[in-house]
């Protein structure tokens, strides 16, 4: 009896599930049996689509009007609603209180990953999962493929560690926070693990502060740039011995610790007129990571992100700029600025702006407009004409990082007699 009741309940639920999209769709008063088949009379290519291994449920059931309006629509492809609203009718893919959400999901770009009709790939993906991820995350996928030391789960697919849509548990769409995710496979209590980490019990530390989870060419799958004491296993150069009560404590505080090896460089900073704020604070770790980094100079990450922590206003200029200045786009602020100290404000590497820009731009080929130390700016007698007389290095809302939409508007700022 109980089994029959639950069987009926299951049947009722199934019918409800099938009925729901139909109930949501308008009644087009189609001839009996015309649903879908009528569409195929014109959309003949769907015969092939229906034969693919992964067919979207409404397509398989020929419920075209579940997503499309057959007559007219305010949305592309005659969709009955906004694409995300249609997908969300059946697919609630982002967990509540998600800690991270995949950007295409946030931006309702479902069809960039999924074919709404059918596909040869599971989950209606437009191409195999790892290939698909590589479309946007090319650097990571290519790097992991070429890496000398590979992380096994990467070969099993990105979804071994990441959720494709959103994660309620961790950042970066991870299935769990680090190190919880890592200790699912790596046993941190054993003697081998301890020996690999020079006797320091780092099982609760953030593994990804030293290790590249996607594989690396450095032994131990460390990030490519390894701080020499780490590479040599000389942890006690900076930390108390592993057997001591304060084993993770550093031997000196802040920059005093770094000075032990980098005193020459740090003294050079002091010789300049100006010292960058974090350097003056002695906060080397505001910008650098002490163990390993994918970036040169053990910088914590992409310089646009690191520098943007304090200089967000400057980074935002580039974001709104029509023309992107390559060094900022490439995250290389240090190609123009000295991040430690400088002889003048803005910490430019070369005080002469023309010389600085000429490192990448051959201005003689770019423009015949006179610039240089002998050319006084008509707007300000204490300025000479240089690249920044017409361009803003971090971008503007107009092309070529110029402060005006029309070139003529820019020119007549100085050549006022030519203004019409």
């Amino acid at each position: 009896m109980a089994a029959r009741v639950s069987g009926n309940l299951l049947l009722a639920l199934l019918l409800l599930a099938v009925a729901l999209p139909a109930a949501a769709a308008p009644d087009h008063k189609l001839r009996p049996g015309a649903n879908g088949k009528l569409c195929l009379e014109c959309h003949a290519d769907f015969e092939a689509k229906l034969k693919k291994p992964s067919v979207h449920t409404p397509v398989r059931s020929l419920d075209c009007v579940g997503c499309h309006n057959p007559h007219a629509s305010n949305h592309g492809k005659l969709l009955a609603e906004q694409p995300r609203a249609i997908c969300a009718t059946c697919h609630d893919v982002v967990p509540k209180n998600a800690r991270s959400t995949h950007k295409p999901v946030q931006e309702s770009r479902c069809v960039e990953c999924h074919d709404p009709h059918s596909s040869v790939t599971k989950f209606n993906l437009v191409k195999p999962a790892n290939e698909l991820c590589a479309d946007c995350h090319k650097g990571i996928v290519e790097g992991s493929t070429k890496a000398r030391y590979k992380h096994k789960p990467v070969s099993q697919g990105c979804s071994a560690c990441h959720m494709p849509h959103g994660s309620a548990k961790a950042s970066h769409l991870l299935k769990a926070e680090v190190p919880g995710l890592c200790v699912g496979c790596h046993k941190t209590e054993g003697p081998i693990f301890l020996k690999q980490h020079m006797g320091y019990p780092v099982g609760k530390a953030l593994c990804t502060s030293c290790h590249d989870p996607h594989g690396s060419n450095a032994r131990g799958m460390l990030y490519e740039k390894v701080h020499p004491p780490v590479a040599k296993g000389m942890c006690t150069m900076c930390h108390e011995p592993p057997g001591s009560a304060n084993r993770f404590k550093t031997r000196q505080v802040g920059a005093n610790l770094c000075r032990g090896c980098h005193s020459k460089k740090m003294n050079e900073f002091q010789e300049k007129n100006r010292i960058h704020y974090p350097v003056a604070e002695g906060a080397c770790l505001d910008c650098h990571t002490p163990h390993a980094s994918p970036k040169r100079g053990l910088v914590k990450g992409n310089m646009v992100v690191v520098c943007g922590t304090c200089h967000g206003d400057t980074i935002r200029r580039q974001e709104v700029s029509v023309t992107k200045h390559a060094p900022i786009k490439d995250g290389d602020c240090a190609s123009c600025h000295d991040p430690h100290s400088g002889q003048a404000a803005l910490y430019l590497k070369t005080p002469d702006v023309i010389e600085l820009c000429a490192g990448c731009h051959k201005w003689e080929k770019h423009s015949t407009h006179p610039i240089g130390a002998k050319r006084i700016d008509p707007r300000n007698r204490n300025l000479t004409l240089d690249c920044l007389s017409c361009h803003r290095a971090h971008g503007t809302e107009y092309a070529h990082m110029m402060p005006n939409l029309k070139t003529t508007d820019l020119c007549v700022r100085c050549h006022e007699n030519l203004r019409r």
């Binding site: 007129n273 400057t314 503007t396 402060p403 005006n404």
Partner: protein
């Protein structure tokens, strides 16, 4: 042309200017040269007294002394002090002595009324004995020195002779660019990164938010000046001056990016004379501009 120029300024200098540009600052004149016609270079400091104005001509490693009486500005006399090769901020005390922050020396030097170097202001009695690296300072009405020390992440309040009276730790995170004190002994610090001003009430041992983060109003506040019941905040990267009420509310914004007279490019220190003239160190334009201020 002017409208598109202002549009750029609005977008890049102060991204979301909701209120109308202020018109309380009217361009009066600009200082381009000293008395020998030698041009200024990246001046960052300017201090006003009743009848004089002193400019820190930072890029030239010198001070320039101007008389300023009844609206007449004298010629700038050069004062080069070897101990102060890179002066950036200035204050004038009640005796007319100059206090000069030198960014290279990373110290505050004193220049007496005879305009000779009179030694360093050395903080005495710092609680933990740690090093001090001043990046900004102000004086109160009694010539006590409020010193923003980035090495110790604190504001040190010093007696005129340098003895530490009080230490106020800075908020946990931020890029602090300036300190100011008002007539009620409230101490302000500017956080350039968060575009925010913090305040420590009289006798308080910590800073509290004075404004919310104001990234839609300011880009990178670099200097704070208390002026008759309001705060003038020089928006270094936003190329302007933001005016706040003494309750932290936004009131208006003055000036905009540019190279021509009246526009500014990375402005630095500002001071106001009793008659209401504002002297603004227009750093990257290599000049000091003078504005008549409608209060």
């Amino acid at each position: 042309m002017r409208s598109s120029f202002l549009a750029v300024s609005a977008l890049l200098a102060a991204p979301l200017l909701a209120s109308a540009e202020g018109a309380a600052y009217k361009f009066d004149r600009a200082i381009y040269f000293d008395e020998k016609e030698a041009p200024l270079k990246a001046p960052e400091g300017v201090a006003c007294a009743d009848s004089s104005v002193v400019v820190a001509d930072t890029g030239n490693g010198r001070l320039l002394l101007f008389g300023f009486r009844d609206g007449t500005l004298g010629a700038g006399a050069e004062l080069k002090i070897p101990q102060l090769p890179y002066p950036v901020r200035l204050q004038i005390d009640r005796q007319g002595d100059l206090l000069v922050l030198d960014r290279k020396a990373r110290k505050i030097g004193k220049v007496d009324a005879r305009r000779t170097f009179a030694g360093w202001l050395e903080p005495k009695g710092v609680a933990d004995g740690s090093a001090v690296n001043p990046v900004a300072f102000k004086l109160d009405a009694a010539d006590n020195v409020f010193l923003l020390d980035v090495a110790g992440s604190r504001v040190l309040v010093l007696e005129p002779g340098g003895k530490v009276k009080r230490e106020i730790p800075l908020p946990r995170s931020g890029a602090f660019t300036d300190v100011a004190v008002d007539g009620s002994d409230r101490v302000y610090v500017a956080d350039g990164a968060a575009a925010r001003i913090w305040v420590a009430e009289k006798g308080a041992s910590s800073f509290q938010p004075f404004t919310p983060e104001m990234r839609d109003r300011m880009s990178f506040p670099g200097y704070v000046y208390v002026d008759r019941g309001r705060l003038l905040v020089v928006d270094q990267n936003g190329m302007g001056v933001v005016i706040l009420g003494m309750d932290g509310t936004y009131q208006s914004r003055e000036l905009s990016l540019g190279w021509s007279a009246g526009n500014v490019l990375y402005p630095a220190q500002i001071c106001l004379t009793p008659s209401g003239d504002a002297f603004l160190a227009d750093r990257q334009n290599h000049r000091v501009q003078v504005f008549t201020v409608r209060r």
